[in-house]
């Protein structure tokens, strides 16, 4: 248990972050007032965001150990513990979650008109579960939160979604659940081979047999690749994104997709390093396939939400690419890109939600030429679009640059193969941007449309702030993750040199 550090100044900060939204949701069950529900949800999420700031302030960037750890026995006979902690890999994701949630509440302020209390309850439960997934250090705790997330997310899509919500929500639920049942078997297998312990850090860097590693990796891969989603497991994503309400799309894009890549970093690489080595080339080429597929498909969409959804497939392809080149630049770029994608794509979904609230259509052709009447809106949209295809001085540029630099270190062929993806991103984003701002000669009459109100500006402004902050000064963010990434990679390469040494010993 020497991988853990508790912080005496903030002994229960993570538990507070996890359970505060849950408690808020519980109280909201007994409220019948819609206005109160909105303000209450906003208050709870803002409070959670505020409480997560000390996490950043007191985070020790000099160690790769888990910090702010809390530990308690939960189910003694199975040795299941309640252990939570953050390290460099999870800290930014936790903060991303806490900060994106108030924006989701504001974005749903007038968008959600029916069953407001239930909607807010679902949002708050989602927040609890998502934070829990990122900080859980016990595999059962992780799995429970991972699965528990399905119910509120299903409800968000199935009740407040668009016309094909039933199809989309069931597809989402079935895909994710089917992917993770074998993860459960893998967890139990690991438990039995680790002296009956579910403690995640103890499972890492162990010498499991090669066959076992491959099978474990495949179980992990199925669960996480569906969540990311990697090509060819992505088909639930466009459906879910398109039908979900704005807040649901934002949560999906900003946080839920990150859980897959987080799973690769937290579980797949440290628990099955040998299998990672063996199977990484396949994963890398799947990532390239995802980048190209996402790009080309996005280019052909006339539904704005679908366009952004397919662009997510492409962006997440970059993230998995960065993870599996397994060098510092690649992995740091991947983590940074996870955050960037959360900010940028979240913002783009918010933008599209705002148009939808006005025109009640997600069709690109119904939104052509609004630039003339919504100058503030298109300013925001332009910056977010530029960020989405990695324009210099925006956040995604830093992330993609690091990933591609890492890929070059790994293999030039691979790097050259992913370049067209970056070009495609520019193509489809600029196409959308051009149509929304100017359109053509046959624009529909948009003169009745109103520009953003103060609430909407408040929703988008913080995201724009982060777009430029990370774009112009990414160093503080990289410092946060650097030590943990270095530690992960040192262990990984150390594991392999050790394995090579052992093999040589046997041969000679």
């Amino acid at each position: 248990m020497d991988q853990l550090i508790s912080n005496p100044a903030y002994p229960h900060i993570l538990s507070i972050l996890i359970f505060l939204p849950l408690a808020g949701a519980f109280l909201l069950l007994f409220v019948r007032n819609e206005y109160f529900a909105r303000y209450w949800a906003l208050g709870v999420t803002c409070l959670t965001a505020t409480l997560s700031i000390p996490l950043l302030m007191a985070f020790d960037i000099g160690t790769s150990k888990f910090q702010f750890v809390e530990q308690a026995t939960w189910i003694k006979s199975l040795n299941i513990q309640y252990v939570v902690g953050v390290d460099g890999i999870s800290i930014l994701l936790v903060l991303l979650t806490t900060f994106i949630m108030p924006l989701c509440v504001i974005a749903s302020w007038s968008y959600i008109k029916t069953r407001v209390q239930a909607f807010m309850v679902c949002l708050l439960i989602m927040e609890s579960a998502m934070l829990g997934v990122f900080v859980a250090l016990d595999f059962v705790l992780f799995y429970i939160l991972w699965e528990a997330m399905l119910i509120p997310m299903y409800m968000l899509i199935a009740i407040w979604g668009g016309p094909r919500k039933i199809y989309a929500s069931i597809k989402f639920f079935l895909y994710t659940l089917a992917g993770s049942v074998l993860l459960l078997v893998a967890i139990i297998w690991l438990y039995i081979h680790n002296d009956y312990s579910f403690f995640i850090p103890d499972m890492m860097w162990q010498n499991y047999s090669s066959t076992a590693q491959i099978l474990l990796f495949l179980a992990f891969f199925l669960a996480f690749a569906i969540k990311v989603p990697m090509f060819p497991f992505h088909t639930w994503l466009p459906a879910a994104h398109v039908e979900a309400p704005t807040a649901g799309s934002v949560i999906l894009a900003s946080v839920l997709l990150k859980m897959g890549t987080y799973g690769f970093l937290r579980f797949a690489i440290p628990i099955t390093p040998e299998a990672t080595m063996t199977l990484a080339p396949y994963v890398l080429w799947l990532s390239i396939a995802g980048i190209m597929y996402g790009g080309f498909t996005a280019l052909a969409q006339h539904d704005m939400k679908k366009l952004i959804a397919y662009s997510s497939v492409g962006h997440m392809g970059f993230v998995t690419l960065g993870i599996f080149v397994l060098n510092t630049n690649g992995v740091e770029g991947a983590i940074l890109q996870m955050i960037n994608h959360g900010i940028t794509t979240g913002a783009l979904f918010l933008c599209i939600g705002m148009i939808y609230e006005r025109t009640h259509s997600r069709e690109l052709r119904d939104a052509t030429g609004v630039g003339k009447h919504m100058p503030i809106y298109v300013t925001f949209l332009t910056f977010f679009s530029l960020s989405s295809f990695g324009f210099p001085a925006t956040n995604s540029f830093v992330g993609e640059f690091l990933i591609i630099a890492g890929t070059f270190e790994h293999s030039t062929v691979l790097a050259l193969a992913c370049i067209p993806g970056a070009v495609l991103a520019a193509a489809y984003m600029l196409r959308m941007l051009q149509k929304i701002i100017w359109g053509g000669t046959d624009n529909p009459d948009q003169s009745w449309i109103t520009d953003l109100n103060a609430r909407e500006i408040v929703t988008l402004a913080p995201l724009l702030f982060f777009v430029f902050w990370i774009g112009l000064g990414a160093q503080p963010f990289i410092d946060l993750i650097h030590v943990s990434v270095e530690n992960l990679l040192t262990n990984y390469h150390g594991f392999h040199s050790q394995a090579v040494a052992v093999t040589e010993l046997i041969i000679h």
Binding site: K76, L78, I144, A148, I159, K165, V181, Y191
Partner: protein, 470 residues
């Protein structure tokens, strides 16, 4: 004191019999029945810590049996409470219906205490025959009279299963010369290499497989569930399963050493039950039929715990069946409440339930998600512990197949939740559950969540109970 719950049950039967002689209105009968049910539950609580042997050692009262008696009485009381209107039963036979209900419960309570072959048989028959009569007591609905078909099917399949069991018992007696379970098992333990011993054991287990609805003794389930009135189905789907699991644990736990060759048979039964139940449930439109098939799959899961031959495995199976009964009762509570005049509930009839009765919709959703094994509900914890126990014994294939079944099962549970929450009620009337039903549903909801979130205490307790019979 040791025999108190059974005596109270007998007394309850007599009182109801007297009631049936006169002309009492439905409300009075119902109140008497619920009062008696509460008294029986109280009696099981009172005689909770008793131990001892009765009737020339044929009847053993220990912690294990008393726990199951309490559970049986509790489940019966819940069925009485939420099915209190007995919508599907003609008012003039209400007292008789309650009489048979109590007699069936009496049989089940005697069953969990029986440690002698003849008394096992007699109690099993007592519990079964009462239910054979309860099934066709349903109100006649049109010309099809499918309650009669269900009754006959139940009777025929039941008698066949009993035949198997009796045949097995005769083998046991022939091999050992005794009907006392302790003697039988002790003598059998030296002769597991003989096929006759294994066949005898399998056939006796078959009788309980019938009660629990495990492949290949499951054929009665869908038609009986559909044909019996909602309240009767709620009873059949929960209470006898508790007793069946108790007896399976009691018998299997006595098998030692070589006898574990029946493991392979049990494993095949478990896996086939899961696949059969889940795949068939996918295409059902009647909620009761669907729950019936899902019950077959869940019985397979219970068997997965029993076939580990470990105390923890038995305790997990016990925890799982308690959880299953609670989840199942939550679903049947909603079915009984939604059904207006005791007719069967189609999945489409649940449309827009969230508008017609938010609490009922919530109960149904939680019950179904729990049955599907989604955390943080009891269904997940139960499955998780069963899978852990089975994998610990090295049954990798069975565990993977069981995990795949979880994924198959989610579809049909989810499609019911979808109808409840995502479709419009159209012209369907709103549902107004009575106060008692509301209390029962809140109780079940709390039980589902609490058992799921902190299972430690329950599993420890189940282990203690199981240890008393080892």
């Amino acid at each position: 004191m040791q025999f108190l719950p059974e005596l109270i049950l007998l007394g309850a039967g007599l009182i109801i019999f007297v009631v049936s002689l006169g002309k009492t209105n439905a409300d009075t009968t119902r109140n008497i029945a619920i009062g008696l049910g509460a008294a029986i539950f109280g009696a099981t609580l009172l005689s909770y810590c008793q131990t001892g042997k009765l009737f020339f050692n044929a009847y053993q009262v220990d912690l294990f049996s008393q726990v199951f008696k309490t559970l049986i009485a509790g489940a019966m009381l819940l069925v009485l409470i939420f099915g209190h209107k007995l919508k599907g039963i003609a008012a003039k036979v209400h007292p008789e219906y309650y009489f048979f209900l109590f007699m069936s419960v009496l049989g089940l309570m005697m069953l969990v205490s029986s440690v002698e072959l003849i008394s096992i048989f007699v109690s099993l028959e007592l519990s079964s025959f009462a239910v054979y009569i309860m099934v066709p007591m349903r109100n006649d609905e049109g010309e099809f009279r499918f309650q009669m078909e269900a009754g006959i099917k139940y009777l025929l399949f039941g008698v066949t299963a009993t035949g198997f069991m009796l045949f097995g018992m005769s083998y046991m007696y022939g091999l050992t010369g005794s009907t006392e379970l302790s003697v039988v098992i002790e003598k059998l333990s030296t002769m597991w290499t003989q096929p006759a011993a294994v066949i005898a054991m399998m056939m006796v287990l078959g009788g309980f497989f019938f009660k629990l609805a495990i492949f290949p003794f499951h054929f009665w389930v869908p038609d009986v569930y559909e044909g019996a009135s909602n309240e009767t189905t709620a009873f059949i789907a929960s209470v006898p399963k508790l007793a069946a699991v108790a007896m399976l644990i009691r018998l299997v736990s006595l098998i030692g050493g070589e006898g574990q060759v029946i493991l392979n048979v049990l494993m095949v039964c478990a896996v086939v039950s899961m696949f059969y139940g889940n795949l068939s449930a996918l295409v059902q439109t009647d909620v009761k039929r669907m729950l019936g098939f899902s019950g077959i799959a869940h019985a397979g899961f219970v068997l997965l715990g029993i076939l580990t031959f470990q105390i923890t495995g038995y305790a997990n199976a016990m925890y799982y069946i308690i959880g299953y009964v609670i989840m199942n009762l939550a679903c049947f509570l909603v079915i009984c409440t939604v059904s207006e005049n005791g007719e069967n509930v189609q999945i489409a009839d649940l449309s827009g339930l969230h508008k017609r009765s938010p609490l009922m919709a919530f109960t149904l959703a939680v019950g179904l998600f729990a049955l599907a094994g989604i955390p943080p509900f009891v269904g997940f914890m139960g499955k998780f512990m069963l899978l852990t126990g089975a994998l610990r014994e090295g049954y990798m294939v069975a565990v993977v197949l069981a995990a795949i079944n979880t994924a198959i099962a989610i579809f049909y549970y989810l499609s019911v939740v979808r109808v409840t929450y995502c479709s419009d009620p159209e012209e369907r009337a709103s549902v107004t559950p009575s106060m008692m039903t509301n209390v029962a549903s809140v109780f079940l909801l709390l039980a589902i969540v609490i058992m799921g979130v902190s299972p430690q205490r329950f599993v420890d307790f189940a282990s203690t109970a199981v240890q008393t019979i080892m």
